[in-house]
Every structure is written in C-alpha cells, then in structure tokens.
C-alpha cells in the first residue's frame, strides 16, 4: 500500500476553507455536515485502528494466555525479549531483510526506470506491464510459486542448474540457513520492483527537459547530466521509495509465513512471523503468549513509525 505523509499536507490544510462568518446558517450546516460525513469513518477508525493500537501497547505490559484477566508485569516482556535468542534472531533477520531489499529495490528501481525512459515508447509500455505484474498478484501466490521453484528435489531452479551442467550448485534453497534469506530477498525484490520502477519513471517524466538541453549546451556528458540533474531531481521520489521499502521490510510477513514459516530453525524468522507463532501458533497445544507477542507488535509499530519519520526527514532535506 502506498501511504505517504508529507508536511505539505499539514501546511496545505487551510486550502478550501470558506470565509462565511461564524454562526451564519451556511457555516452551521457545513459544520454539521462535516461531522456527519466523517462520523462513520471515524467511528470505525476508533474501534478498529486506534483502540487496537492502544490495547496492544497495554497487552505488551502484561502476561496473558487468553483466559482470565491479563496480569500486569511492567516491562518484563521487553527485558525477556533482550534475552530471547529467537527474538534477537528475528530482529536481526528483519533488519537485514529490510536493509538489503530496500537498497536493492531502490537501485534496481532507478536503473530500470531510466532504461524504460530511454527505450522506444511502445517497448516501454510492454516492459512496464511485465515488470509490474508480479506486484499485483497476492503474496500467497508469489510465495507458493517460488516455493515450488526452489523445491530441492524437482524444483525448476535446481533442474535448470542441472541442465546447464552446474549440478554442484544445486541446493535445498529454503532448507539451508545460509540460503534461505537470500532466496526470500529475491522473491521480495521480484514482487516489489515494478512499483518502484513506475514511481521513478513518473519522477523522471516530470523533470524539465530544458535542464538537459541547457546542460548539453554547456558540454555536460550523459553521466554528468545523470549525476547533476537526474539524481537531485529525484530526491523526493527516492525518499518515498526508501521509506516505503523500510516500511514493507519491517512488516514482512506473508511471503515468509507461506514459504518457510520462519524456518529452518528460525533461519528466516522475522518479527511478524515470530509474533504470529507466539500468539496463534499453538498447534502443539502450547498456551498462546499474547502479552509477549504484543511486545513484538509494539516494536514493529515503532519501526514503522521510524520509517515514516525517515520519509518526512528525507523530503524535508530534498526541499532545501
């Protein structure tokens, strides 16, 4: 999902304000209508967005198995987190996954957008569609597809390697601690690239062509033009893409849940999959640990908030 906050929204907020005198009938009907119009959305928001956020924060300070009353334990869940090797693993995997996918997606997004922008326009439309399709199918579909491709015995990847004589590289990709994370990163990049390419492409299209002409007159070559015109003009777009990459990384769940369930032996465990298995993964009959799991929700929310702050910060710098 695209969620963008910009300080311009806060600045621009007075736009559309009408100038009727206070208390005039026209003004009063607007006030009533305003509250009536936002009422339903706001009620749902309070009940199913804001309240859950606050309730999670409360639960994270308790110990609770889902029955009886939650027992208040102060910050025990958080200190437990520090000593839990799986939690540490999940945090590291989340950060590595987020960092690598964000970097790769930003770089490849820019490169493909520049290429699409150069190419013949009809070829460009075809390329844009092809690159975008992985992004519109569900995470479940992509995860199942790639799980089959990575299958150690008859998966296509191993068969292709065998067919070109690289049998030695054949591998149980998702069952090995070393390769499981790169394998998941590939799927994430595959699914997210089209979106970044399109956003960058739109950014490229909005650059004033006169800038390039002027630079060419001054004798700047293509590389110099790219460095001194293209990259700086795309700063806001880059800020957006980086922060969306961070956001998506911090909330990674579906692909990993379907492909590996966090395994092998927590090798691909992220905050999302760990909190889910703590709360709902009681297949072995263990008691759900809702308090402890909620602490991971809070950490996830804090990380996501940081991603949004990063975007505000990157956009602000770009404005200067």
């Amino acid at each position: 999902m695209v969620t963008t906050l910009s300080r311009h929204d806060v600045v621009r907020r007075s736009a559309g304000r009408t100038s009727y005198r206070f208390g005039s009938p026209l003004r009063r009907s607007q006030r009533i209508a305003g509250f009536l119009f936002i009422g339903p959305t706001f009620a749902l928001f309070l009940a199913f967005v804001l309240w859950p956020i606050l309730y999670t924060a409360y639960l994270s300070l308790t110990s609770w198995g889902g029955f009886g009353a939650p027992r208040f334990v102060h910050f025990d869940n958080y200190s437990r987190m520090l000593h839990d090797p799986v939690a540490r693993r999940a945090l590291i995997v989340t950060l590595v996954l987020t960092g690598v996918t964000t970097a790769v997606l930003t770089f490849l997004g820019l490169v493909t957008a520049v290429l699409v922008n150069v190419v013949w326009s009809k070829v460009g439309v075809v390329v844009r569609t092809i690159l975008f399709i992985p992004g519109i199918v569900s995470f479940v579909v992509s995860a199942v597809l790639w799980k089959l491709i990575y299958d150690p015995n008859i998966g296509t990847l191993n068969r292709l390697l065998g067919a070109i004589g690289l049998d030695s590289l054949q591998h149980p990709w998702l069952a090995d601690h070393k390769t499981v994370l790169p394998a998941i990163i590939v799927v994430t990049v595959w699914g997210g690239l089209g979106f970044n390419m399109l956003i960058y492409f739109a950014g490229l299209q909005s650059i004033d062509p006169n800038l390039y002409e002027a630079a060419a007159m001054d004798g700047a070559n293509t590389v110099q033009q790219f460095r001194h015109i293209t990259v700086p003009s795309l700063r806001i777009v880059t800020g957006l893409i980086v922060s969306l990459g961070l956001l998506n990384g911090f909330k990674a769940f579906d692909i990993i849940f379907v492909m590996t369930g966090g395994g092998p032996n927590h090798g691909s465990e992220v905050l999302g999959t760990y909190l889910y298995s703590l709360a709902f993964g009681s297949t072995s009959g263990s008691i759900p640990q809702l308090g402890y799991a909620s602490a991971f929700s809070v950490v996830t929310m804090v990380l996501c908030t940081l991603a949004v702050i990063a975007q505000l910060w990157l956009t602000r710098r770009a404005d200067r």
Partner: protein, 274 residues
C-alpha cells in the same frame, strides 16, 4: 539522431532479458499447470503434451467455485463500503469547514502505516468479544475499517482539485450539503472513484493474513487462505496447485490490464504528487 538510436537499442537489449527473468515464474506456472502429473519429475521443462486435467482437479477438489465466489462477494462489499466511507469523509476533509478538522485528519493519517501484523492480536480479540469471529461479517468490518483511511486520503486529494466556487454556487442555490455532494460533486469524481475501486479490489482480493486468522470455517474462506492450504494438500500434485494459482490470478490480471491507466494515475497521486 544516431546516438539516440544506439541508446534506445542498448536499453532494449538490457531490458528484454530482464523482463524474461521477471516473467519466468508466471510462464512456468502456466506450463506446469498444463502438463500431466506424471511428467513433472522427468519430462522436459517445456512439456511435449498439454492437458487441462489439472484445471479440472483444482476446480472440483477444493470447491473452487465456492471460494472464488466468497472472494468475489467479500471484495465487492469491501469496495462499496470503502467507497461510501472514503468519499464522504474525503470530501468533508477537503471542502467542508468544521472544528478540529485538521487535528482529526492528522490523527487518521498518522496511524495509516500501522501494519496488520502488528494489530492482529487485538483485532482477533475484539472480533471474538463481538461474536464476529469466524464470520465473513467480521472480516468485512476489519477490511473496511482498515482501508477506509487510505482511500479517504486518496479521495481527499481528488476533491481538492475541484474548484470551491462550484460548491459555493450550489450552496447559494440552496442545496443541502448532502444534495450538493451527491448531485454536484460525485459525478465529477469518477476518476477518483475508479482509482479507489482498483486499489481496493487488488488489496482485498489478495489479502491473506487477516482472512487466514479470523476465519476457520472452511466454507466461509476466500481464495487466498484456501490456496495456502492447497499447498499442503497438493504438495505432490504440482499441476493442480499451479492450476489453482493461475485461476486465482486471472481476475486480478484482467482488472489490472483493463484499469491500468487509473491505477497508475492513482499511484502517482498517492505517491509523487506531494
């Protein structure tokens, strides 16, 4: 002119293999779904003989029509619900003047990026206490409430492009706010509505985590969680599994290809405009 041609050729030369790589999983999915079950171990990667048996398997064995229909109607209700909530509130935030408008707007916005993974525990408990667990009604409530703020944000951006004079003229003519909204504003908002429809369709049709968590009743499940269980059931029958995936992807691709322009426009509005 000549250097331009070289540049274009070079870009095409780099992009085409790249596109093949990106498209490969889908091509492979189609090819696998069309092959015979007994050739997946030893047959060539491109099958010599194509068969549609796997589609029949996938269609009948998991009651595909039932879950497909669940997805269709859950998605439709969500889209309509989100549209109603988002157009009303988006319009109010863009064009109506009322107290605390900006505070309320910022409050809605700041929680927009909270991922459903982080909220799934309280949402689950909430549905449980409301007696809505395991019901499609509960799922719909969560879908609509979770998506309405973002759609509101998009719609507000559209409404802001409409001139104030139009609304003021209608007010002077004595129209009530609701009449103005319905008769004057909504007809002008078609492109915005189309954008919300396609965004909402894609995200609801593809949603997995919430559906998989709050619905245990197999008859009520939409397609995505069923595809997930299909993976366990059919770990040996790859053609049936890939046929199921293909069938679930078809509506998404059709809608995307038909409404591509609105989709791209909406993304630009949501992403690049500010």
């Amino acid at each position: 002119m000549r250097t331009k041609w070289i540049g274009k050729s070079f870009a095409t030369f780099v992009l085409l293999p790249f596109c093949l790589l990106m498209a490969f999983p889908f091509v492979w999915m189609l090819l696998t779904s069309l092959r015979e079950q007994n050739t997946i171990f030893n047959g060539p990667i491109i099958p010599r003989k194509f068969t549609g048996v796997a589609y029949k398997d996938a269609w009948t064995s998991i009651d595909f029509p039932l879950h497909f229909w669940n997805s269709v109607w859950i998605t439709s209700v969500t889209v309509i619900g989100v549209l109603i909530f988002a157009t009303l509130s988006g319009y109010a935030f863009a064009k109506l003047d009322f107290p605390f408008r900006n505070t309320l707007f910022v409050l809605l916005l700041t929680t927009l990026m909270m991922p459903s993974t982080a909220l799934i525990i309280p949402l689950y408990l909430e549905l449980k206490s409301l007696g809505l667990l395991d019901s499609q009604a509960g799922l719909l409530v969560l879908y609509i409430s979770g998506s309405a703020p973002f759609a509101m944000f998009l719609m507000r951006a559209f409404f802001q492009t409409l001139p104030d004079e139009l609304i003021e003229a209608a007010r002077v003519d004595g129209g009530s706010e609701l009449t103005i909204f319905r008769r004057v504003i909504l007809p002008l908002t078609r492109p915005g509505i189309a954008t919300v429809v396609i965004f909402q369709f894609l995200s609801t049709w593809n949603e997995f985590l919430i559906a998989n968590t709050v619905l245990r009743n197999t008859d009520a499940l939409p397609l995505q969680p069923v595809l997930f269980t299909l993976m366990g059931q059919y770990s040996t029958n790859w053609p049936a599994l890939t046929a199921g995936l293909t069938l679930s992807v078809v509506p998404v691709v059709i809608v995307y290809v038909r409404m591509q322009r609105q989709f791209v426009a909406g993304m630009m509005l949501g992403a690049v405009k500010n």
